[in-house]
Amino acid sequence: EADIYQTPRYLVIGTGKKITLECSQTMGHDKMYWYQQDPGMELHLIHYSYGVNSTEKGDLSSESTVSRIRTEHFPLTLESARPSHTSQYLCASSVTRTGFNEQFFGPGTRLTVL
């Protein structure tokens, strides 16, 4: 079934730890995105990718990094987590093809850094 997955759904971790948030999609979409969202608030784009080996920073400055080695996989890494990183992280994908254009979102990862 075509979908977009994020793991873990919830993560509680101590300050200074390195973490990787996973995002995978089975739709063959070329574009993928990471957003940061505090509960009930607006979305902030932190990273995006137009395809394999393409990554760009978004509007919101972030201490995270991303990679796009495979079309379906777009992990986000925090080298040293801090309490200010506590938030929800949403992954999305889209395809540029006539009749499409909308984004498909994963369920999100709720990160708490103690």
């Binding site: 994020q6 607006e42 979305l43 784009l45 995006y48 889209s94 909308e102 709720r110």
Partner: protein, 117 residues
């Protein structure tokens, strides 16, 4: 630069009454416009889009939106609200990539819709 405004942080409506969630935009060229809904502790779900054609667009769950080029608006509407429609609604815009615009959409701040029984 492209931008989206959702002027209401919250909209309250009684069940069975019509609802409107407002969205205005600014973009170079013809806009691609989207509405998404977010339920608590979930990602966003696509509701509907306007790319070209008929100004009235119908989407999921009985929602529709009207594209008004002169007013640069794309308001979301539903004739009869349900309690289960209570959620956070986001409007988004982007320029057509073929016109040299970015493929990255800009989202509004979101509007919380509360439908009272």
């Amino acid at each position: 630069a492209q931008s989206v405004a959702q002027p209401e942080d919250q909209v309250n409506v009684a069940e069975g009454n019509p609802l409107t969630v407002k969205c205005t935009y600014s973009v170079s060229g013809n806009p691609y416009l989207f509405w998404y809904v977010q339920y608590p502790n979930r990602g966003l779900q696509f509701l509907l889009k306007y790319i070209t054609g008929d100004n009235l667009v119908k989407g999921s769950y009985g929602f529709e939106a009207e594209f008004n080029k002169s007013q640069t608006s794309f308001h979301l509407k539903k004739p009869s609200a349900l309690v289960s429609d209570s959620a956070l609604y986001f409007c988004a815009v982007r320029a057509p990539g073929e016109a040299g615009g970015s493929y990255i959409p800009t989202f509004g701040r979101g509007t919380s819709l509360i439908v009272h029984p």
